[in-house]
Amino acid sequence: MKIMVADDSSTMRTIVKRHLASIGVDDVVEAKDGDDAVEKFKLHSVDLVLTDWNMPGKTGLEVLKEIRKTDAKIPVIMITTEADKSRVMEAVEAGATNYLVKPFTAEMFKEKMEKYID
């Protein structure tokens, strides 16, 4: 399984990769901002996308909308501090599959991800 992780924080990408490795996912494509995420989505055949919301360039919401133009099915999970109801609704309406609010523990991450990992 190949997963793309989009976050402008190298720390957060490291943390997410670590959590993914602990649940058996080692094939990770990293994107350092929204524009990078859109480009890498086109280049790599990923099975799932994890994206932050607030990033330089395209936001995570814009990344989600770009992905949904060509792929209505791929799971896209927002990993973000944006936790208010209106933001969650905005993401869901744009096609987000699920939502994980920062901060999260390894256990919270695993619980959220387990249904998507084969």
């Binding site: 720390t11 670590r18 607030n54 501090t81 208010d84 920062k102 999260f104 523990t105």
Partner: protein, 157 residues
């Protein structure tokens, strides 16, 4: 700045440090550290929208390296780009959680900026009086400074 907002930021700091670092935060609300920033590393997040201001985490180098080491799961011995990013992300999460709890205000938060150096200064917007909260944590000491104008709320727009 209202007392409830200060409590919100303290809760955000405490929860973030516990969740991401497994680190307890102890603060004494009666202590007010007037010197800002007291330590050589400042992570600054701007706040805008219905209120304007900023939140700053001021840390010692040791506190920053300890926090970065826990986040990155490797021993960080110098304040390199990875350690700086870790401090910035920690502050981003604190600000984001506080923002999410302040449901009476529509706020945006900036990307984090981290400033280092012994004699740097952090300036708040002109009409913002920051409230400084010295803390002792399992990672070391830090000071959180928060300042917000009392802007419009969703109710009186």
């Amino acid at each position: 700045m209202q007392a409830e907002h200060i409590k919100t930021f303290i809760e955000a700091l405490t929860y973030t440090f516990k969740t991401m670092l497994d680190c307890e935060v102890r603060h004494d609300p009666s202590q007010k550290n007037e010197l800002l920033p007291p330590y050589p590393i400042s992570a600054v997040i701007g706040l805008s929208g219905d209120a304007v201001g900023a939140v700053v985490l001021s840390l010692t180098e040791a506190t920053a390296l300890k926090a970065a080491s826990i986040l990155l799961q490797e021993e960080m011995t110098e304040l390199d780009a990875d350690a700086i990013d870790a401090v910035g992300e920690l502050t981003n999460v604190v600000a984001g959680r506080a923002k999410a709890q302040m449901t009476s205000h529509e706020l945006s938060i900036s990307l984090p900026n981290v400033v280092t150096g012994k004699d740097h200064s952090v300036m708040f917007p002109r009409d913002v009086q920051p409230f400084t909260i010295p803390c002792d944590t399992d990672c070391g000491p830090l000071v959180m400074a928060v300042g917000l104008t009392n802007g419009r709320t969703k109710q009186n727009k």
